[in-house]
Amino acid sequence: MQTHRHLCILFCIFAGVFLIFSKISYAGENNFEKLRQESAKIKTIQAHFVQKKFMKILSKPLISEGCFYYAAPDSFRWEYFKPLKSIVLTYQNNTKRYIASGGKMMEDKTGGAQAMKIVLGEVTGWMSGRFDQNPSFNAVINEGANTKITLTPKEKSMAGMIEKIEITVSKKAGTVQSVKIFEGVGNFTQINFNNVKINEVINPSVFQDVQ
């Protein structure tokens, strides 16, 4: 159960990531079928990100920075540079999570890696184009001035942790404006990606080496 909760935020982040890079601006025209087709073309992704955490207890957002790499079908690296340096690596069905301690990267023994494995299972589903068949979230696309995709949890247990995820895409620019993960009133996480590279070669060592 703890694992299930740990994975929620990662799940949401990856939901956002893959919808972002699936040329979602077409979604309004032919909904999820277009997304399925576009997603199937993605072999690798790499990007930097800035994560802003908004909470009532904070006077200003807590900013985290990091990068991520993905190579089909199941290799991941999700890394935070600051403020809390941590890395999740998945390679050949083996997932590990590391945190910085005393200048070294130490393996996290709290179950985060196991959570990541489950996330990976979900992501594999998305890569197969099953965005609207996710067992955990309902997905709705709304067309307005911008395209907005809203993911809401199906399970009650998850609903207590995540209210919804909103992905807003600018129709003009055809780019994602924001990914917001809402946990409760005044409590949400916003992630912006930059320096995005799709289908460029990634050295397999990126998914194996901690440093």
Binding site: M1, Q2, R5, H6, C8, I9, L10, I13, Q51, K53, M55, I57, L58, S59, L62, S64, Y80, P83, L84, S86, I99, A100, S101, G102, M106, D108, K109, T110, G112, M161, I181, E183, G184, N187, T189
Partner: protein
């Protein structure tokens, strides 16, 4: 019978821990200039810290903690989140008691919330109890000893080589918490180590990300 009673008394006394001996200041001048160590907050502050949990010296995991503490009102708000931003725990403690806004496993036990607020108060707030003794420990460290309402003892210690420490003892004299402010220069809250002596011992290493004064 008397012998048996004496033996029981000796056994009971031996089974209790004893608080470290405090030597009082020897002269009147020394007594006059004596000041109690006070690493505590003077005004309301917000702290954002990384918190690393260790068991038997081995790192188990790390999280981000946010604390808002007001020494004037003794109100404490705190939150714990993962690196990914998932809020695992969110609570506040004030005149109306403890209010838990969010608590996900493994942070969902009532004891956890209570202990966490107590630990935060131990670190940032001056003890509520009265000073019972003050002076010097055998190693020369300056110490002031407070007796809390619940019978616990709190020693606030300063030592030239080890900096400032806070120790909480049970009424029987058993050490329950030891807090070390590891930074001897600059912001005293830069690096704090909390050692907990429970059914299993653990330690938390708190490293400051940001400290912000909070205007009321």
């Amino acid at each position: 019978m008397k012998r048996l009673s004496l033996l029981i008394l000796i056994f009971v006394l031996c089974s209790c821990q004893t608080l470290p001996l405090i030597n009082s200041p020897v002269s009147l001048t020394e007594e006059k200039i004596f000041t109690c160590p006070s690493p505590f907050l003077k005004s309301k502050y917000r702290f954002i810290q990384t918190i690393e949990a260790r068991v038997a010296g081995n790192t188990q995991g790390a999280i981000i903690g946010v604390t808002v503490a007001d020494p004037a009102t003794s109100v404490v708000s705190c939150a714990i989140m993962t690196a990914e931003g998932m809020v695992m725990f969110d609570a506040e403690s004030g005149p109306d008691g403890l209010k838990i806004n969010r608590a996900l496993p493994p942070f969902d036990s009532e004891n956890f919330a209570k202990n966490m607020i107590e630990d935060i108060k131990l670190i940032f707030f001056s003890p509520v109890g009265k000073i019972q003794n003050r002076g010097y420990l055998p190693d020369g460290a300056t110490v002031c000893r407070y007796l809390e309402e619940n019978g616990d003892w709190i020693d606030v210690i300063t030592n030239k080589s080890e900096g400032v420490q806070i120790k909480r003892y049970s009424s029987a004299g058993t050490l329950k918490r030891q807090i070390k402010f590891k930074e001897t220069a600059g912001n005293i809250y830069q690096s704090i180590e909390l050692q907990a002596y429970e059914s299993f011992n653990y330690s938390l290493l708190m490293t400051l990300i940001e400290a912000q004064p909070v205007k009321k």
